[in-house]
Symmetry: C2
Subunit: 295 residues, 2 copies
Amino acid sequence: MTEQVLPSWNQGPARQAILDHVRAATTPGAAFVEPADRIATFDNDGTLWVEQPLPPQFDFVFRAWGKEVKADPSLAERQPYKALVERDQGFFEGVATQEPEVVATLLEAFARSWAGTPPAEFDAQVREWTRTVRDPRFGVPYVELVYRPMLELFDLLRAHGFRVFVCSGGGRDFMRVFAEDTWGIPKENVIGTAAAYTWTGGRIVRSPEFLGGLDLGPGKPEHIFAHTGRLPAFAGGNADVDIEMLRSAAFALLVRHDDERREYAYTKGAEASLAAAEELGWTVLSMKSDWATLF
Amino acid sequence: MTEQVLPSWNQGPARQAILDHVRAATTPGAAFVEPADRIATFDNDGTLWVEQPLPPQFDFVFRAWGKEVKADPSLAERQPYKALVERDQGFFEGVATQEPEVVATLLEAFARSWAGTPPAEFDAQVREWTRTVRDPRFGVPYVELVYRPMLELFDLLRAHGFRVFVCSGGGRDFMRVFAEDTWGIPKENVIGTAAAYTWTGGRIVRSPEFLGGLDLGPGKPEHIFAHTGRLPAFAGGNADVDIEMLRSAAFALLVRHDDERREYAYTKGAEASLAAAEELGWTVLSMKSDWATLF
């Protein structure tokens, strides 16, 4: 494996560690991974695309809730609509720390907005958003803010027999709308927080309930095992909510956001994962030093 | 597509309908199916392997419950252990008709037997069973009672870009143990009734709860949509509990068990699906006339 692979990565310890691991996993020896066991899982927000100032799905959701508040101003008196109207970002950051009250309030609001929606209608809403809405700082649709080096890593892994999955705390059905075009990952390889569906009157309709809880923290290996029957041979993440998934993997890659010029520099929400990486010998990639090209 | 494909199938309307549909689905025209949408789903019991006198998983389960009753004879006074001791097959047939009390009693007993069991231990139990236990009539391990014509159909579908999934009311994790060796289907393409799992103390442990309900009847398209983000382009089943899945599919294939000599002849539990096949124009395959070889 030479410079032809991972072309957007700079020569350096992160790229080398990945190449070494992939070679070891696919060559007879102590670190060999049976082809059947080659499951690779990646977080989305902050691992595959920009998650600052808030993960892009919030933009999609806020637009829907904004319309609901406009139609019924009394909603503005209660959460999460109140936080939206007051631009209280701290409230929404409570998702990452899995504050039960915040989570319950959000899931209830998601149900209010989309329960009963047929998948085709939800898909159309997401497609319209990916097509028309632009990230304010970068001026491009959010789906263009996917890190090219990660897509190259998917190619490398697939070329070595890994099946690549995305496993995100974000909405499974939201991600599935653009997974194939944007990541080259089939819908069935997208794992995430998800509503239940019912077969009613000869069609699939979204239920108010969410099945299997949030796909964050311990929920990540739980969702991965339920979906694939395995724990990952390779996992990539960037935040404290990825720790359990990274611990469950044979090889763990942690994205460090340290590139203020090209993206953002922050460790908030990643303090524990950076400490775990040091303690457990995970490979940490510096966006600034390890990636020649971001998008 | 000539006689080289589906070699264990006799020339006839079922084989022809399958070949015609696969050609139409992969050739530009009105019935073309986009490669991304080529999801094929198959029931297991009675569709991929012999389900008489009871689906083989019951044999596995009964052996475990038999040991439990031996260790604690008081269990024999309550269900489902009572039905096991009294050889009351009718009680267990209540699963297929989804009698709520029977289902609840069984799920509770499954939890009693396997909650807290790490996956590796459960796998070892199933592997031991597949290796050592033989079907009384045929004298071979149950995994050798898989219909060869169906495995050839999987090959045909995969050769035309379909991703093949098994979607069964049986235990997802039970099937995953032998899915790869027996069907050539990766674990992640097995959908079924399933316990939840928790990530506890750095490992995955089976919970007492079952997530998403039984994968029978309406549960089949619900589980398929949740797992894959699509409804099937091709589906195969054999019983009334497959009706909703078959209705949700672009092409539906129904197995008719009419071969008393080589297998079994019965319509019990399939009356409504046979009627639906006639009404909706599904392809019905006769085991006796359409399959040259069974196993």
